[in-house]
C-alpha cells in the first residue's frame, strides 16, 4: 500500500500542489448555496405534503335515499389531516335529469361551528360524479376532531339525485352514517383531503445549520491535518483528482470520438437515438396498448433517457477493465479511472439526449416550474448509483467473463421491472414489491414528478435516494478496491 501511494504522488512533480484552504472554503460556500437553492426550489413542498390521513373514496354500492326536500344524509367522521382542504361526495342520478339545489355542509361537532357549506345545481350532477367542497384557506385545528358532513336538498321527488354509499364498509370508531335521522349500516361515498406539515421541513434551517456545523468541523479537521503535514484521505483523493484530470478528460473524449468516428451523423446520434426510440415506443404503446397517462410522450422520453443512461453506463463500465487490458498490464495508473471515465462518457451522452427531452416537453406543453431544476438532483443520484454498479460489474467481469451475458439478461429484467413505458398503476398488488425494491423506480418517479407535475417530493425522499445512490457506490468501491490488485493476473 505504502508503495502504491508513493508511485502516485511522484508521478507528476510538475503539477501544482492542492490548495486545501481554498478547497475547504469553497466546499463550505457551496454547501450553503445548495441549501439556499434547495429551499427556494422545493418551495411549499418542503413544508407540506399530501396528508397521510386523507380519506379515500369507498367503492359505490348503492344509493342512500332520494334526496328530496326534507331528506337529510349525515355522515360523522374524523380525519387526521392537519390542514383540511376539501371534501367530496359522490352522487347517483337514477339515470334521469334532475332539478333543484343540493347543499353540503361540514360541521365541527367539537364546538358546533359550521366550517364549510356550498350549494350545487342538481341538474349539473352526473351519475357517479363528485361535488367537491373546497376550503378557501386550509382549515387548521380539526385534526382528529369529530366532523359532520350534512347533505340535503330542496328537490321534488322524481327529480332528486341521491348520494351513493358503501354498505359493506366495516364500522370504524368515530364514523357513523344516518339517513333521515335513522342510523344506517355502511358509509357515505365521500373523500376528504388536505395537507400535513413536514416536521423536518419546518425545521429546515435548524437541520441545515446542524449539518453545516458538522461540515465546518470536518473541514477544519482536514485543514488542520493538512497544515500539520499529516496524511489524509481527502488530500490524497484531491491530489489524485488534480493529477489525473487531464487523463480523465482525454479518455472521455477518446470514448466519445471513437464512438461516432465512422458514422456520418456523428454525435448527432446521441441526440437522435432516444428520440427515435421514443417515437417507436410512443406509437406502439399509445395505439396498441392505449395508456391513459397524461402527456405520454414526455413521460416515456424521460423514462427512456434515464434508463438508456443507466444501461449504457453500466454496460460500458462492465467491459472497462478487460477492454483496457493492454494498458493495465503495461502502464500504472489507478484502475478506478477506467470505469469512472466510461460512466463520465455516458454522462456526456445523457447531457446531449436532454436536448430532445426539453424539445418534446416544450412541444407537448409541459410547464417548466422551478422544481424541474430539482430533477438534476435525482439524475445525479442515478449517476452515482450507476458508477457504483459499474465498479461492481467491471471487477466481476475480470474474474468471470460470463458476467457479460448474465448482465444482459439482468438488465433486460430490470428494464421491465421499471415503469419506463407503462404506468406504475398497472402492476397488480402482489407485484408492487418489485417497485419498492427497485432504486431506479424511485429515481425515475421523482425525476418525472419534478418535471411533469412541477412538484418537489417531500424531504425524506431526497435523503432516501441519496442513501440508495451512495450505498451502491460504497458497495461497488469496496468490491473494486478489494480485488483491483488481482486484476492484472486475470487479464
Amino acid at each position: 500500500m505504502s508503495k502504491k501511494k508513493g508511485a502516485i504522488s511522484q508521478k507528476h512533480p510538475q503539477e501544482a500542489p492542492v490548495r486545501i484552504p481554498r478547497f475547504c472554503a469553497g466546499i463550505f460556500l457551496l454547501y450553503w448555496l445548495l441549501i439556499a437553492a434547495f429551499y427556494v426550489l422545493a418551495g411549499e413542498q418542503l413544508h407540506l405534503r399530501q396528508s397521510r390521513g386523507a380519506l379515500e373514496l369507498p367503492a359505490a354500492e348503492s344509493g342512500t335515499v332520494e334526496l328530496c326536500q326534507g331528506a337529510v344524509v349525515e355522515q360523522c367522521f374524523t380525519a387526521e389531516i392537519q390542514r383540511f382542504q376539501s371534501v367530496s361526495v359522490q352522487w347517483g342520478t337514477y339515470y334521469r335529469p334532475n332539478a333543484g339545489t343540493v347543499a353540503i355542509e361540514l360541521w365541527n361537532l367539537a364546538d358546533g361551528s359550521l366550517l364549510l357549506s356550498q350549494s350545487y345545481d342538481a341538474a349539473a350532477i352526473t351519475e357517479g360524479g363528485l361535488t367537491t367542497l373546497t376550503a378557501r384557506e386550509p382549515i387548521e385545528g380539526i385534526y382528529g376532531a369529530p366532523l359532520l358532513l350534512k347533505v340535503y336538498a330542496d328537490c321534488q321527488p322524481g327529480s332528486a339525485p341521491s348520494p351513493l354509499m358503501n354498505q359493506s364498509a366495516p364500522a370504524q370508531e368515530g364514523f357513523s352514517l344516518s339517513l333521515n335521522g335513522a342510523p344506517a349500516q355502511g358509509t357515505l361515498c365521500f373523500s376528504a383531503s388536505g395537507e400535513d406539515y413536514i416536521w423536518t421541513g419546518l425545521h429546515y434551517w435548524e437541520f441545515a445549520a446542524g449539518f453545516g456545523a458538522a461540515l465546518a468541523l470536518a473541514l477544519i479537521y482536514i485543514w488542520r491535518r493538512w497544515a500539520a503535514g499529516k496524511h489524509s484521505y481527502v488530500v490524497y483523493a484531491l491530489t489524485a483528482l488534480k493529477q489525473y484530470r487531464f487523463l480523465i478528460r482525454q479518455l472521455v473524449s477518446r470514448d466519445f470520438r471513437t464512438k461516432y468516428k465512422r458514422s456520418v451523423l456523428g454525435m448527432f446520434w446521441s441526440f437522435l437515438n432516444p428520440l427515435l426510440t421514443m417515437m417507436v415506443q410512443y406509437f406502439v404503446f399509445s395505439t396498441i396498448f392505449r395508456s391513459d397517462i397524461p402527456n405520454y410522450a414526455a413521460y416515456l422520453l424521460i423514462g427512456i433517457v434515464s434508463f438508456n443512461f443507466f444501461s449504457e453506463a453500466c454496460g460500458m463500465a462492465l467491459t472497462s477493465i478487460i477492454g483496457n487490458a493492454p494498458l493495465i498490464t503495461k502502464v500504472y495508473m489507478p484502475k478506478y479511472i477506467y470505469p469512472l471515465t466510461r460512466v463520465m462518457s455516458s454522462v456526456v451522452n445523457l447531457g446531449i439526449s436532454l436536448i430532445p427531452l426539453v424539445i418534446v416537453c416544450v412541444a407537448t406543453g409541459v410547464e417548466f416550474r422551478k422544481s424541474a431544476v430539482l430533477a438534476f438532483y435525482f439524475l445525479a443520484c442515478l449517476m452515482i448509483f450507476s458508477l457504483g454498479l459499474g465498479l461492481l460489474l467491471s471487477s466481476a467481469m475480470v474474474f468471470f467473463r460470463d458476467t457479460q451475458f448474465l448482465w444482459g439478461v439482468f438488465s433486460m429484467m430490470w428494464m421491465y421491472a421499471t415503469p419506463i413505458f407503462y404506468p406504475e398503476s398497472i402492476l397488480p398488488e402482489e407485484f408492487k414489491f418489485i417497485l419498492r425494491i427497485n432504486p431506479l423506480y424511485y429515481f425515475l418517479k421523482n425525476i418525472r414528478m419534478c418535471i411533469l407535475d412541477g412538484l418537489s417530493p417531500e424531504p425524506a425522499i431526497y435523503v432516501q435516494c441519496l442513501l440508495m445512490a451512495f450505498g451502491m457506490l460504497a458497495a461497488g468501491a469496496v468490491v473494486f478496491r478489494g480485488s483491483q490488485d488481482r486484476f492484472v493476473l486475470y487479464l
Binding site: G6, Q10, F246, Q250, R257, I328, K330, V331, L489
Partner: protein, 242 residues
C-alpha cells in the same frame, strides 16, 4: 549523485495458477463441484533485493522466463509484490511495450495527447512539446491520419517519440531499441544516451549483450526468479556469456 532512486527489498512475486485458467462462473462452479479446483503456485521472483542510484543504468539479463519483465512490472507499479516492497523515488515512465496506449481509430495527433496523458504528462507540457514529438517521429503529414493506416514502424516511432519526450527520473525500458529503420535506431539510441546523460536512472532489459555492454553501468543477472549475479557490467556479462 548518489541518491538512491529505486529500492527493491526482498521482493517475492508468486502467482497462483490454476492448471487451466478459469474465466467463467459456470466453469468455476462445475470444477469446484468436482473438487478439481487445484492451484499451483508459480514463483516468478524470489527474494530479490537491490538498489539503483541516481544516474545509473542498470541492465537486466537472463534467459526467457527468468523474471525480468515481472521485475520491471513490479517496479513500475503494475504488479503488486506478494512479499517485500519496492520504493521508487521520482516519476517512473515505463516503456514496456510501445504503443500499448494507442487507439488505432484516432489520428496520430489525438494519440499523442492520449498516450501522453496515460504516461502522466500535463496538458501544457504536451502542447509545448507537440511539434518536437512530431518532428522526432518523422511522421510529417501522417500525424493527421487515423493510426490504423500506419505501418508498424510508424507506430513504433511515434510511441518512442512520445515516451522519451520527458526527462523522467526513472525510465524502464524493455527491449525497445530495435525500433524503425537503421537510421531511426541510431537516432533513438542517441536519444537514450542523452537521457542517461541528463541524470535519468534507467532500467534496461535486452537480450543483446552488446547493447548491454554499450549502455549499462551495472548488470543484474536473474535466473529462475533469483538474483544469480549483480555487479559491474563486464564481469556479469562475461559470466553470463559463458
Amino acid at each position: 549523485m548518489s541518491k538512491t532512486m529505486i529500492e527493491v527489498s526482498n521482493v517475492t512475486m508468486r502467482f497462483r495458477m490454476n492448471s487451466d485458467r478459469i474465466l467463467s462462473l459456470k466453469e468455476f462452479v462445475t470444477t469446484a463441484l468436482r473438487g478439481k479446483l487445484d492451484y499451483r503456485d508459480f514463483t516468478a521472483l524470489e527474494d530479490v533485493s537491490f538498489t539503483v542510484k541516481k544516474g545509473e543504468t542498470l541492465g537486466l539479463v537472463g534467459r526467457n522466463g527468468a523474471g525480468k519483465s515481472t521485475l520491471l512490472k513490479v517496479i513500475s507499479g503494475i504488479l503488486k509484490p506478494t512479499q517485500g516492497s519496492v520504493a521508487a523515488h521520482g516519476n517512473v515512465v515505463p516503456m514496456l511495450e510501445l504503443g500499448s496506449g494507442f487507439d488505432f481509430d484516432l489520428t496520430g495527433k489525438e494519440n499523442i495527447f492520449l498516450n501522453g496523458a496515460i504516461l502522466g504528462y500535463s496538458e501544457s507540457f504536451l502542447k509545448e512539446k507537440y511539434q518536437e514529438i512530431v518532428d522526432f517521429s518523422e511522421l510529417g503529414e501522417f500525424i493527421h491520419v487515423p493510426m490504423r493506416n500506419y505501418s508498424s514502424g510508424m507506430v513504433a516511432r511515434l510511441a518512442f517519440s512520445v515516451a522519451t519526450m520527458v526527462h523522467p527520473d526513472i525510465l524502464i525500458v524493455d527491449e525497445i531499441l530495435a525500433v524503425g529503420d537503421a537510421q531511426f535506431q541510431e537516432k533513438s539510441k542517441a536519444r537514450m544516451m542523452e537521457l542517461m546523460g541528463g541524470g535519468t536512472t534507467v532500467l534496461f532489459v535486452s537480450h543483446s549483450i552488446d547493447q548491454i555492454r554499450d549502455m549499462c553501468s551495472r548488470v543484474l543477472w536473474l535466473e529462475q526468479g533469483m538474483v544469480k549475479m549483480l555487479g559491474r557490467t563486464n564481469e556479469v556479462c562475461d559470466a553470463y556469456a559463458m
